[in-house]
Symmetry: C2
Subunit: 341 residues, 2 copies
DNA sequence: GGGGTTTAGTAAAGCGCTTTACTAGAGCTG
DNA sequence: CAGCTCTAGTAAAGCGCTTTACTAAACCCC
């Protein structure tokens, strides 16, 4: 329990009767040694239970072998799964992970971006989910070694990785159109956000292409939260349920929405059909099991790390790519043909 | 984008025409300076956009201002919420958080514990959820500065923080007894684990005290996973549904259980009543909304960090206490009186 | 047996900061 | 004006490691 001074390279060197350099170079593989000496050193390491001091090593090497992950909120299952995937991939590659939650406060995002400057971390996987006034983008550009994930930061010239939001919207729209819906409510995130715009665009495209009769699309936009889902549901009811189907663009929105609809006695899918987005929670156990667009969350996390490590940061054009990962629709029981009325 | 050498203390010192010591001491508040000099230094810092190099600082100070959090699986909503709470509390206190997922591999847990040795982190919040053969406990004891959370590591002489598992079991049992159940199945985690034993004990106590008629308790024990929940459900059905109520000791178990029961056409609560444990997922939207024991997950995370920082680590180990945080029962619609049959 | 090559290492600088111990000079006091 | 105190700093060691450049000794070859 008492923490005596930890054993250092020097202790090992002394114990093995060699110089610090020798041990260090052996450990780093930049020195061949006769087995006998090697063994002596290794024995000393064992006996003294030596482990290199990471701070000294980082200072000396000028890198931290740590990557940073900035997310809006870790408790949100979508981000939690993303964190899990990034952590797993980082560990697999021998990197540590520093985790930062912004809770959508701009000050935080900026502070965390600055970490990179001081090689606190070697790179950053950055997830935001609110609009940027340009400050973030310019900071990202002058910082480098950032991958923007899940939601765009317009103007940032770094690699970006999103799910195929438009495809998601399209799949939802297609599914609804095929069930005969033509009046659909879209409940999206903040309207400046590219994710919500693309999802709506996909929905619109599918409905236009596939629905029979005059297509009517309604659009409520707020946050990707259960709270906004509840508010949207109330508004929908207040407005006399103008649509026969709802496309909720996050699990949280869907949760809030369903809470209120259920409380108000609107049954799903008889009263109104619902399609969700994300599909990371246990939507299959909901009442009814919820049809949703599934994001490849783990794949996004893994790919983000790969991008961070494999991008050639010297090469300007390499840093402008936007990569989309496909989504799929998971059909359950929350969509039915609109009731005649 | 190009990363020129970051500005160091020396650059600031030169720019301000003072020595490195002066700047350092000013920054650390161990030196009073005339406003004029102070301003000169501060201007230089601004202009050069200086930020201290964390690795140098840590090396020099001998501490990292970082705490480590080891959890079995980040994607699990329970742990995700815990991570979120610990991160928030760490940030509030100006500490960084390093996150490690063990995925229940013993080697990993041990490797992460060793991080502490090298003052990689200043302290560790440690969550495991599988039995220990004593190796972990002894490593924890020789490491110090560890808080064991959520699940016990028997033999570890460090502060421990759990939810009141026995109370949880008791509340579940009481609720079931009050609805007239006397034959109850307990689906728990690994039987060596203290959490599952205490929950069962609480259940038993409540049933014995409160149920009318002969109490029959069944006990399946496996992992806290949806998979085990499914297996347990199958076994329950295979054995001809010997109980009228089930107490599932994690959200995941409950999810797996409900999946199978529902697929087999057993309705809840008519066919069988169910009480869950944890209540971090959207159980209120399940079909039916699930009655569950709620863990104070965020409070656990916050308290864990407080314990880590406020414990007097000099004091003899034996005095480290075990602390319990209360749980509550959230009554929804998955419990009904047993059907006459 | 002189020169080259290989083997088996090592010395020392440097990473960027903190911290302890110290000092030059100004101002004050009796 | 000698001696003291106070102000405004500074020099230098040290944290523990990496890395570059170097060397002493042994070996080999003609």
């Amino acid at each position: 329990m008492t923490r005596e001074r930890a054993t250092s390279l020097k202790d090992v060197a002394t114990a093995a009767g060699v110089s610090v350099t020798t041990v260090s170079r052996l450990l780093n593989g930049s020195l061949e040694l006769p087995v006998e000496t090697k063994q002596r050193i290794e024995t000393a390491i064992q006996k003294l239970n030596y482990e290199p001091n990471p701070h000294a090593r980082r200072l000396s090497r000028g890198r931290s072998d740590t990557i940073g992950l900035v997310v809006p909120d870790i408790a949100n299952p979508f981000f939690a799964t993303l964190v899990s995937a990034v952590e797993g991939e980082a560990d697999r590659r021998g990197l540590a992970l520093s985790l930062y939650a912004t809770l959508n406060r701009t000050g935080r995002e900026i502070a965390y971006l600055r970490l990179l400057d001081r090689n606190h971390v070697d790179g950053l996987v950055f997830v935001t989910n609110h609009p940027d006034d340009g400050e973030l983008a310019s900071l990202i550009n002058q910082t480098g070694k950032v991958i923007v994930v899940d939601e765009d930061v317009p103007g940032a010239s770094v690699p970006k990785l999103f799910c195929d939001n438009e495809l998601g919207g399209y799949l939802a729209g297609k599914h609804l159109a095929e069930h005969g819906h033509r009046r659909v409510l879209y409940i999206g995130g903040p309207q400046e956000m590219i994710s919500t715009r693309r999802r709506f665009h996909g929905l619109q495209k599918a409905m236009t292409e596939r629905a029979t009769g005059k297509v009517e699309l309604f659009r409520y936009e707020g946050d990707y939260t259960a709270e906004f889902g509840r508010a949207a549901a109330k508004r929908f009811l207040d407005e006399g349920m103008p649509a026969t189907a709802i496309f909720a663009s996050s699990d949280e929105i869907a949760i809030g929405l369903i809470e209120v609809l259920r409380a108000q006695g609107v049954s799903i899918p008889e009263g109104v059909s619902v399609v969700g987005f994300d599909d990371v929670g246990p939507l299959h156990l909901f009442s009814p099991p919820l049809t949703a667009i599934r994001q490849p969350v783990r794949a996004i996390g893994q790919r983000a790390l790969a991008l961070l490590l494999e991008t050639n940061w010297q090469q300007p054009e390499a840093t402008h790519a936007e990569e989309l990962l496909p989504v799929e629709i998971v059909v359950r029981s929350s969509v039915a043909p609109p009731s005649k009325q």
